[in-house]
Subunit: 385 residues, 2 copies
Amino acid sequence: MPDEVLNDISHRRYNPLTGSWLLVSPHRTKRPWQGAQETPSKNTLPSYDPKCYLCPGNKRAQGDSNPPYKNTFAFVNDYSAVKETQQDYHPETNKDDVASLLLQARPVTGRCYVLTFSAKHDATLADMTPEEIVPVINTWTRIYASHLSPSHPLNGQAAYVLSTIPENPDGEVTPPKHQLKNMQIFENKGAAMGCSNPHPHCQIWTTSTLPEEPGKELVNMRKYKSDTGRHLLGDYVKLELEKKERLVWENDSFVVVCPWWALWPFEVLIISKRHVRALVDLDDKERLEFAQAVQEVARRYDNLFETNFPYSSGVHQAPLDCTEEEAETSWFHMHFYPPLLRSATVKKFLVGYELMAEPQRDITPEQAAAKLRDCGGELYRKSLQ
Amino acid sequence: MPDEVLNDISHRRYNPLTGSWLLVSPHRTKRPWQGAQETPSKNTLPSYDPKCYLCPGNKRAQGDSNPPYKNTFAFVNDYSAVKETQQDYHPETNKDDVASLLLQARPVTGRCYVLTFSAKHDATLADMTPEEIVPVINTWTRIYASHLSPSHPLNGQAAYVLSTIPENPDGEVTPPKHQLKNMQIFENKGAAMGCSNPHPHCQIWTTSTLPEEPGKELVNMRKYKSDTGRHLLGDYVKLELEKKERLVWENDSFVVVCPWWALWPFEVLIISKRHVRALVDLDDKERLEFAQAVQEVARRYDNLFETNFPYSSGVHQAPLDCTEEEAETSWFHMHFYPPLLRSATVKKFLVGYELMAEPQRDITPEQAAAKLRDCGGELYRKSLQ
Ligand SMILES: O=P(O)(O)O[C@H]1O[C@H](CO)[C@@H](O)[C@H](O)[C@H]1O
Ligand SMILES: O=P(O)(O)O[C@H]1O[C@H](CO)[C@@H](O)[C@H](O)[C@H]1O
């Protein structure tokens, strides 16, 4: 147990990955709970929807047709947030020109992909087997490998995976026109997390700039390494395997924990046990074990409130264009940020105080981990069919 | 106009208050817009609800009764996120103890208030007149003044406002038991922003620690001041008054702008024109003019999509306990973060990419400001009655 008193008093916890604090109010869970009891939700979607723009063979918004793909299918988003080519823009910053200090902008280019997880419209990662999730991880790995800079320290690994992981017959990805800096894989699952199409899919945004969050993590991991000579997440994995209070699940290669600094009620982190810098470092066995970890998280989430659990998830790893030292500093992990707090309909809002002052949570990460440890086993929906 | 090209290309903009970047994708507004047309929403709430725990005279969850108050009423939250007294906790940090580095926690104490804006259950700031909002600002000011540390550089101003602003006959606030560091005023308005009771109210959380957001702002404002010798927000107000592209409204004492670095679609910032460090610096005329600015924002928001517009808002000012230099660095302002993007029901989700990488917005702040400039005038609901 962490010092017992933290179950009763309000306190701040430190997130060493981002270098920021959050407020924890454990006594707030003693608030009377008047929420409704939910009935377990079944899956009522068809396995093929003729109107879905992601189902195999269907037409998309701008007229392209999807191939009759079997498992995953990647394509460039018809409404990408960034484009590969656009007009140039070269602002100047000048200490004596106030506008150049306070109205700063920089161009960003890149390419945004959509990647389906399955041909089945009604599948989710929780319904799929680890073996069915492996093609998703393989595609992530191939896309990462084919976007690395020519001088990238992981080029050897990239060449190896590109020659060993089978090419996806449907929608192989071409290298970018200009070298890009970062690749962000993320999934928005459920209407509560802004997802407008339930067909299982993620997005991959590659950009010419390193975004804020992975940037902050790199800075803090580098600082920890130069202070201690060790890896922040390496030390953290060891600590959580010893303490066990926040551990949800583990296999040979990965741990699933509710991190000490979790902000979302049932936030979890999948972390590689050994020093994996990026997807291309994973071998066949590790990719399967990563798929197992992802499946465990998705299934336990659904089992927790017997519902199709919403979340946003994302992978952090070495940038596409980086130095030897930046690659060495990177430690592969995947975040899950789910909004639900007490039932299928009661969510935690990160609003006024959270936006204006700092994040605040009610149940402790230790309490969340205990609940997630307890809801393994078969997917609850299976027994409803 | 900012450099014209920024209306067409993806770019990052810099937020000098927080020192972070966000992604702007203006071309994404060209996405086909299939959303429904809304009908203007009327107000269907009663002006008194016997079940509301905020209406005058009603009983609250833990048995206390509200007085038959006339305008504002402040009380300590029955389920506060922080408490004034709790067990103590003194962790030690030690470079050689990994747990002490990676599992850091610090106790936080404080007091959380709820403050009603009006006795009327169905009023919102948009329905109230500036004169009716003045008592809210007065109560904020009195609470701030009565929580200042004994050595605070603004104590003279505090004593003056406490002797000149009329005491609220209902629910005067007592000084805290232990000196606190910060006071965060915020409002969560609308179900979309986690508000469970439509009775108009805000919250005020006072804490023994300086939260992340005001902390970051102080650091960045101090840095700007030491680099240039001037105030960041002072320079910014002048710039926006010259450029006018992001200006929504102004009176003698305040400007309302969609900031260059706005993250939420219709985010606005109210900034004092002169150097106001905190509420206690405002004179009678300025408090009325601040009420006018708040009312302008609330009414324009409601007029924009002819609906009861949700948002979270919050005031930033000098901490309750600070040095002369920190008070001097502070510049009074109020943020509004509204989630709606294109209509009363289509909101912007800050999810996967935003949480894992960095915030992304579609319409530019200049486009948002133009729309808000155009929807002044009478509250749309008035003509529906
Ligand atoms: O205290 P309330 O209004 O119940 O709670 C609301 O505001 C708080 C402060 O922003 C949030 O932490 C809660 O998630 C939200 O529901
Ligand atoms: O591209 P989508 O799925 O339409 O959009 C969704 O994810 C994006 C990336 O997190 C967000 O910017 C959008 O607000 C959200 O609705």
